[in-house]
């Protein structure tokens, strides 16, 4: 299936990309994160476990256990600091 990925703030800067489309069989957000970490380099650096990371699925804050479906929009970003 195809998913649309977005990166924000420090993660966007480290990866050097604000969005990408990806063909994946990852069943969950956790599995998608793992697939990106396996790429190594800036992906591993910014998405590695132990780093403060938040995820949104179709523009709603979500847990790593959330399931992925065709056409989903997934976002990776650091904890929010607005207001």
């Amino acid at each position: 299936m195809k998913v649309h990925i977005k990166y924000f703030a420090s993660i966007r800067e480290t990866i050097g990309l604000s969005a990408e489309a990806l063909e994946t069989e990852a069943p969950t957000l956790a599995a998608l994160r793992e697939a990106l970490i396996v790429r190594g380099g800036v992906y591993a650096a910014s998405l590695a476990h132990g780093r403060a990371l938040r995820m949104a699925l179709n523009q709603v804050m979500s847990l790593e256990s959330a399931s992925l479906s065709e056409g989903d929009e997934v976002a990776f970003f650091p904890p929010v600091t607005g207001g």
Partner: protein
């Protein structure tokens, strides 16, 4: 108000500055039930850790679409939880300078208690749930601002958590 002018949306995300008096006038317009208006304005500090002048500018990034939807959901939650008549949130994005206004929350109700509470609730919610990120420009270079545990604690007092572990955790 000019009848041709559409009502102001509940949520505005904009680079331009805002006028608190105009937002409140629009929120109160024609509503005789209102006996209380409570508002909060957040502004850009010129310092971190008490060093004046250590911040030369502040840049705000956000997640278009999710930002508006998440704040709309917060306002719905405020209406559900408190006896309020209306609420508006304006949040600026882009490049800001020290002393600039960043965020405005305004709420109306019959009596002050519900407006005070709803205004604080909306700010606590916004701090931990709305997808904005601040980057400070300092003499040593640019830094992304870290989330604060105190903001998670502020949300927790309403019986809410952002996610397991909080936003800052």
């Amino acid at each position: 108000m000019n009848p041709a002018q559409p009502a102001m949306p509940r949520v505005l995300i904009q680079t331009a500055d805002f006028d608190l008096a105009r937002v409140i006038a629009e929120l109160r317009a024609g509503d005789g039930r209102i006996g209380a208006v409570c508002s909060f304005v957040g502004t850009v500090r010129d310092r971190t850790a008490g060093t004046p002048g250590s911040i030369s500018s502040l840049e705000l990034e956000h997640y278009p679409g999710m930002t508006e939807a998440s704040i709309e959901a917060m306002i719905d939650a405020a209406h559900h939880r408190f006896d309020i008549y209306g609420a508006r949130v304006v949040h600026r994005i882009g490049l800001l300078q020290p002393r600039d206004q960043i965020v405005l929350v305004a709420v109306t109700s019959a009596h002050r208690g519900q407006s005070f509470q709803a205004c604080e609730f909306l700010m606590d919610y916004l701090k931990t749930q709305a997808p904005f990120w601040k980057k400070e420009q300092t003499p040593e270079g640019a830094n992304w601002v870290d989330a604060r545990v105190s903001d998670d604690l502020a949300l927790a007092k309403w019986g809410l958590t952002s996610l397991p572990g909080g936003n800052a955790g």
